[in-house]
Subunit: 247 residues, 4 copies
């Protein structure tokens, strides 16, 4: 079970990043580049990281790319509707078969997250706030090296009720200036795939430059990574005659 090299694809919508001056100032090469660099920096020679963006053919998520992706991270916001349903179905199938998925911030309304959750994934929100993230599961691998609490000076408020299934494991809860709370770090398993949702990351603030946030994302990549998929099928119905176990 010794891990091999984790092959990570960082997906970015890359719209704000090219059109919004504030975002361009913070993320001159796009948010995906900063996230990718951070993962490389934390996991060094244990990881290979590429990026893919919405405007590329097949949104950069061809069968060939996904064949070589162990972990996909997803950031989108203003253009969820532009993501082709066929690509969403392709990613969904891969997750159920064991590809890890890390969904960031406004990705809560992405087609892929909604499809995997089965709920509306809606929430309360407000611009111009700050966030404090608390660890509520200190023994969880995603909390390793993360303080009991840390502040993100500038953040959008995301508040409850967050319409998701109860997470299999809840790792972080955040609070905001108005007193709002939010389940900000949520683990799910769907099929063979592991999914981590992490809410910090509004595009107009330098959230992905912050060390604690980077550590959480690197930990999440490791946690969702499956070094070895099952050799048997887990996503189709199988007529199983008596004795199938011996075959």
């Amino acid at each position: 079970m010794q891990s091999g090299i984790m092959r990570v694809t960082v997906w970015g919508e890359n719209e704000h990043d090219r059109t919004n001056e504030k975002v361009k100032a913070i993320y001159p090469d796009g948010m995906h580049s900063t996230i990718a660099a951070s993962i490389r920096g934390h996991l060094t020679d244990r990881v290979e990281v590429r990026t893919a963006t919405l405007e590329q053919p097949e949104h950069g998520l061809t069968e060939e790319v996904l064949d070589n992706t162990d972990v996909l991270t997803w950031w989108g916001h203003m253009a969820h509707h532009k993501v082709d349903d066929a690509i969403v179905a392709r990613v969904h199938k891969r997750v159920l078969a064991g590809m890890g998925l890390v969904v960031l911030h406004s990705g809560h309304l992405s087609k892929i997250f909604i499809k995997l959750m089965g709920t509306s994934c809606s929430l309360r929100w407000r611009d111009d706030d700050s966030e404090t993230v608390f660890t509520v599961n200190p023994g969880h691998p995603i909390a390793r090296g993360v303080p009991a609490a840390f502040r993100i000076p500038e953040q959008e408020m995301y508040g409850e009720y967050f319409d998701i299934p109860q997470p299999d494991e809840l790792v972080f809860i955040s609070s905001f200036k108005g007193g709002e709370v939010f389940r900000s770090g949520c683990c799910f398993t769907r099929g063979q795939g592991r999914i981590f949702y992490f809410s910090p990351g509004h595009e107009t603030y330098p959230v992905y430059h912050q060390s604690e946030v980077q550590r959480v994302i690197a930990n999440a990549v490791e946690w969702v990574y499956q070094p070895e998929k099952q050799s048997y099928v887990t996503t189709s119905c199988i007529n199983s005659p008596l004795g199938w176990m011996n075959s």
Copy 2:
């Protein structure tokens, strides 16, 4: 919080019921009629039960019917693909808003269950078996009055791996002749809605005439029933200015 009358709609695909002689012999008025009668028998004056079937306009699930439905039960098998996507979306929306849903047997592959679960909901299967159901959560309301174990003499085998999210609460596990096991009684909450999946019920066997099975379904109707929905919206994103809590 005293409960009012529970308004239950028993949905049946009603295809085998009209075309298969074996099924007609067991369920002369259709499986849905037997299930409806059983719920009435168990919950008496606390329940109003109607039925709806695939061949009816809008599959019998008009807005008006759903406006008057607190709990929907669902049995389908050979015609899942004939269920209109718009009706599925309508039911899905109602579940998230608090309508209870009891999914039976081959309903595991219904569009509505797959949409709510986010996974393939596939499993192993084999005709011509028998099932023993064990209670693994004896304090759960759905297990009330149900023995520690009971046999269903004739049943199709449904076996693991069952590709569903880990249930919020697991109430029953079954075994079969070949030694297979199955998570046969599974509780989920999605949005404000509660969902119970119960696997017994192959159409060519008199499963829904069996007293223990009837008791489980009646208990499930009670458990998924919400006497009072929230007065606030839980399925749309809400821009929440500072001070919204005082409004």
Copy 3:
């Protein structure tokens, strides 16, 4: 499964209540009397409520009292160590056999809660704060009739990390002036028994006079109540020869 009369015993430590002038002013007949009256007020003729306190023989929790108790609520703080281990074992046995338990505020450090949880149940705290409670599971019976968010003007701060097992269902999360968050409404099932922990309720503030808090406690009494225990044993190992299921 129609519910009978719920027999509730409200247990109070009753130490602060007799010695602290501030507490006496808020709860002249003891906190337990206020809590008991509130449960009676909400559940009316569906409930019979008695109280029991630490200084009574066997802390008021004789076998005879527990034989006639369906739901026990527990508030203690300064005298957890004075509760006799034999009484704790007695209550523990009853919970596993199906008696409901509602643990309030500083009861998180009671012997019975620690014994049931298996963890330290420790937390962060600070006097002189205020609390906002958010519903994170709006379809849960304990959230019925409870607003999306409500404020408790004066409360002690209880903050994460709260060293409990992950709740089977999380219903409320609170925040405090310092930005702290806390899993304030937690559901557990242990054996046949259901347990709800609810953190509001510092003795020097009129928390149990607040309507939202009263509603939550009444809902919790209903949720932990089991109208019907299993007829089979669930807390002893049973040698089960082949064929036991037919016996």
Copy 4:
């Protein structure tokens, strides 16, 4: 987060192993030696394995040994009562602080498991059976390389109801000749510690020589292992003045 060397202590009761001829024939150096060798064989240079047994001073679990233990495995059966309560308290404290624990077979009635679970941990049982283990969470790290189903030719029957808290994650379910089912692979987190219970392993059968069982135990050691504990305290109440997060 790159793992260091995992320091594993395999604890064995070592009573049957010395007194029962059948057990001695299967495990000439004691069951603990076979389990230890298997862990070494699977995890090779990533692990250091020692053993400890009941008859040693402090049952071989001195403070110094535990200071150098990342993962403890536990097998006991006939002598649970001989384990000193002070040692149980010592191990309990370590688990909450992040030491991993793998509890095997009849260890379900060990003092440490009961203390961590908070329930009776009782079950149904019968000698002289065989077991089939099914994977119900194929994406879980403990299921890696483990078949969809595998048989253990000779095993004691352990059957439901198993009186444990609902596992945080359920990985395996087993069935037996009499049709019984059992949650045989159960994950729990308590404090910072991870716990895996795995039920195969009756002393009079060569269960721990079987490759699938060995693989599960090795996977479990990896899963419960924490390479890095939190730098903050998680098992004591902490008075936290406003501003503590900045300290």
